[in-house]
């Protein structure tokens, strides 16, 4: 029996309900898979494997979503090929693969906004899909930021050159939803092409964001994240706090961070990324207070903002007061505050769960992940937080065969193995419970402590009308308004009440404007 070196390790994955055998298998991230798939030597094939099988193995390594197995020698590989021959034959279409004719394929354009490592993962997903079948060719194209991608798609639609699939960030959801003549609802697409597609296969908090009032999915959830609390265990230790007990509530944040600052363990307690999303939008969901009336806008376009209620005012005022003694430090919009935490200046950081990779890469200290704190005098059992990220929308006006291919592709994307791999590699939430289970069984959360916190937080309690999500028009501008007013509050120019009142007033003008344009 010949041992092969790790660089020649073959990672074998297949599709199907192999969950029972999952404990015997190791799931690796998609990035790792790509590394292996491009480095796997196809040519020096073992004599006992026919060229045909060898060729298909090469194809298999990047084929359809499933589980990945480290196999350590050719004997084992051979055995497994025999065992899984039936499934593999169906999936990899033995022999037929060589007849791929690229020019006959129907092109499905997929415009997305994922750069860097996640962009490469998207390419790998498209490539994997293209290699599992020979009818369609998914072409993934990066169109810049979320806003740029959405703009490009809108401009293309107006010019009649639209892509089949476009990735749209969650704040653009209502704009897409309101453009009835421009979008093809995903439930309709799947139905027309005879695909089973059940919203119940996805996490309720994720589907809630993208379904219509009848519970039908309008877009395909793809990358979702939610804010969590990161904390610096080294600072906790230095301040004499238990590094395994992060603050659960906002009063605890105040107490613990006062201790941190008084002890000199750090000069800053808490900082936050995405100020409006974390400290106001998700805050409202978690305390179960309305951000806007009519169920945060799910009930119609004639909604009014209500985030100047007592709970929000109290919280924002508390943050502003904490600015005085360093318990809180405002670090800017988006996630430009990240260096404050990863540089060891601040002990706590509220940031997207998808930021875990960034924190892991940049923090040179021991850190933990905890759920977003809440105010116990507002709510005893905090609600789930809401999602950020993006979903995939299908545009109108293309050939039926493009839609058939898009439906196939979405079916491919839904597979739990692919979802699990994407979740583990990108840090986005597993959007199906199956992907979560696969990751759990494979021991991913054991190896990556804190990666499951966001999921438990998403699952806390039944989503209420206040925690199902936000469906507001002109929301990008409303967020700007909120963050402008927050900055005025944190600079001490306005009280929280004044600032939030102004933000509501200014935001309502924008809502009426959106209502007017989308009648």
């Amino acid at each position: 029996m010949r041992q092969i070196t790790p660089s020649r390790t073959i990672q074998w994955r297949w599709q199907g309900s192999a969950l029972a055998a999952v404990d015997r298998f190791t799931i690796v991230g998609f990035a790792e898979l790509r590394f292996v798939s491009y480095n796997f030597p196809c040519e020096p094939c073992d004599r006992r494997l026919t060229l045909l099988i060898c060729g298909n193995l090469c194809r298999a390594r990047i084929a359809a979503g499933g589980l990945i197995r480290h196999l350590h020698n050719w004997e084992e590989i051979f055995m497994h090929i025999r065992k899984t021959m039936v499934a593999a034959a169906a999936l990899f279409a033995f022999g037929a693969g060589s007849a791929l004719a690229a020019q006959d394929r129907v092109t499905i354009d997929w415009w997305h906004a994922m750069g860097g490592a996640n962009g490469e993962r998207i390419d790998a997903i498209a490539k994997a899909f293209n290699e599992t079948q020979d009818k369609y060719e998914v072409v993934a194209i990066n169109r810049g930021t979320y806003a740029e991608t959405m703009n490009a798609a809108i401009a293309a639609f107006r010019a009649g050159e639209q892509p089949a699939i476009v990735q749209v960030f969650e704040v653009g959801t209502l704009t897409m939803m309101s453009a009835e003549g421009a979008i093809k609802p995903v439930f309709e697409l799947m139905e027309e092409n005879g695909k089973s597609f059940d919203p119940k296969d996805f996490l309720a908090a994720v589907t809630g964001y993208y379904t219509n009032s009848d519970g039908q999915m309008l877009s395909f959830p793809f990358n979702s994240s939610t804010p969590v609390l990161y904390y610096n265990k080294d600072i906790f230790r230095a301040a004499g706090l238990d590094p395994e007990t992060p603050p659960k509530t906002w009063p605890e944040v105040g107490e613990m961070m006062t201790k941190v600052i008084d002890s000199g363990a750090a000069t800053c307690g808490l900082t936050t990324a995405w100020p409006s999303w974390v400290q106001l939008e998700n805050f409202s969901a978690r305390q179960d207070v309305p951000f806007a009336d009519k169920n945060n806008g799910f009930g119609g376009l004639d909604t009014q903002l209500t985030f100047n209620g007592p709970a929000q005012v109290k919280h924002i005022q508390q943050l502003a007061d904490w600015q005085e003694n360093g318990v809180f430090k405002y670090g800017g919009r988006r996630n430009v505050s990240a260096p404050l935490f990863s540089g060891g200046e601040c002990a706590l950081f509220t940031e997207s769960s998808a930021g875990l990779g960034g924190v892991r890469a940049n923090a040179s200290f021991d850190f933990g992940v905890a759920q977003l704190p809440y105010w116990p005098d507002v709510i005893a059992e905090p609600k789930n937080t809401i999602i950020g990220g993006a979903s995939l929308w299908v545009l109108q006006g293309l050939d039926p065969e493009v839609y058939a291919g898009t439906a196939d592709f979405f079916e491919f994307l839904s597979s739990s193995g692919l979802q699990a791999a994407w979740h583990q590699a990108s840090g986005y939430l597993p959007i199906t419970p199956a992907a979560f289970t696969v990751s759990q069984i494979s021991g991913y959360y054991g190896r990556n402590p804190g990666a499951d916190v966001s999921i438990f937080q998403m699952l806390s309690g039944e989503p209420s009308g206040n925690s199902k999500g936000l469906r507001l028009g002109s929301f990008v501008q409303i967020r700007d308004v909120i963050e402008e007013e927050m900055e005025a509050i944190f600079a001490g120019d306005k009280t929280a009440q004044e600032g939030l009142d102004t933000a509501v007033e200014r935001g309502n003008v924008l809502l009426r404007r959106f209502e007017r344009a989308n009648q």
Binding site: R158, S178, G181, E487, A491, F514
Partner: protein
């Protein structure tokens, strides 16, 4: 006898002008017309429903009290950028003109920043002045300045003015230096022989002779500050904190490109276009009168 050649051709002049006219029509008149048209419509982003609303978009924009503030912000920003960029460039050009050895190196190095895109210039300043990791912000903190442009509007304004002006200095420098080098040496030498010192020579001879260039640069710098600086703003402050750096063109970009409110954005563009036309006409009518060529 007059030896001037004349062409009695009727079509040829139009033919020769055609490319320029075509370019003007396609790239200037047509988009401006589109903006005008769009500013009278309320439309969803996909253009599925469209309503003609006369001047409602303008009323919507102008009724916003923050718009007046944005105009004021833009005025402060533009005059500061133009003033700073012109002053520093003039100073550097005067100094570089006086250098005898290694002047090529100085000149080339001073021209470099012009090759940097505004957004990149913004990012460079962002790094240098980042409250946490910035080299220059540490220096400021060491000097006892409470440096935090994320919350301090005046500091944020200074930062974006600095980044925008820095980028424009090289362009101005190039023109000033060329102007100085084209100046007749005999004039300056004559003044020197008459006992005029370098400073006196500069203000009485060089600066007045540079007036046409200065005027041209003033117009160009104002237009730059009005239109091309949104990359800097977007990279450094996104109009914040609390709207302190929200200049008109950034608001157009935000509302139109990010917020997808085309009607309001178009109305703002038209207003901005009006402001720049008025400014340019005013500059040519009043400032140019004081310029002697």
């Amino acid at each position: 006898m007059d030896r001037r050649v004349t062409f009695n051709h009727r079509v040829l002049p139009y033919f020769l002008l055609a490319p320029q006219i075509a370019i003007t029509l396609v790239f200037f008149v047509w988009p401006a017309g589109q903006a005008l048209l769009q500013s009278t419509l309320i439309e969803d982003p996909f253009g599925l429903s469209s309503e003609f609303v006369y001047f409602e978009n303008f009323a919507f924009v102008l009724s916003d009290p923050l718009y007046a503030r944005s105009i004021l912000t833009t005025a402060i920003f533009s005059f500061s950028v133009a003033g700073l960029a012109l002053t520093i460039a003039l100073f550097l050009a005067a100094k570089a003109d006086a250098v005898i050895s290694g002047r090529m190196i100085y000149r080339t190095l001073l021209i470099w920043p012009y090759a940097v895109a505004p957004a990149i210039a913004g990012v460079l300043f962002l790094f240098m002045f980042n409250p946490r990791v910035g080299v220059l912000s540490s220096a400021l903190v060491a000097l006892g300045v409470d440096w935090n442009y994320l919350l301090n509007g005046n500091q944020a304004m200074m930062l974006v003015i600095g980044a925008s002006a820095w980028k424009q200095i090289s362009y101005n420098f190039l023109f000033f230096l060329a102007g100085m080098q084209a100046m007749p040496r005999s004039l300056i030498e004559a003044a020197a022989i008459d006992g005029a010192g370098p400073t006196y020579r500069f203000w009485t001879i060089i600066f007045p002779l540079l007036m046409p260039i200065t005027f041209f640069l003033l117009v160009i710098n104002m237009i730059f500050a009005f239109f091309e600086t949104f990359g800097v703003i977007d990279a450094v402050t996104q109009g914040g904190p609390a709207g302190a750096t929200n200049i008109l063109v950034y608001k157009v970009f935000r509302d139109g490109f990010i917020g997808l409110d085309l009607g309001s954005s178009a109305a703002q563009s038209v207003i901005l276009m009006g402001i720049v036309i008025v400014l340019t006409v005013a500059q040519f009518r009043y400032v140019e009168k004081r310029v002697t060529y």
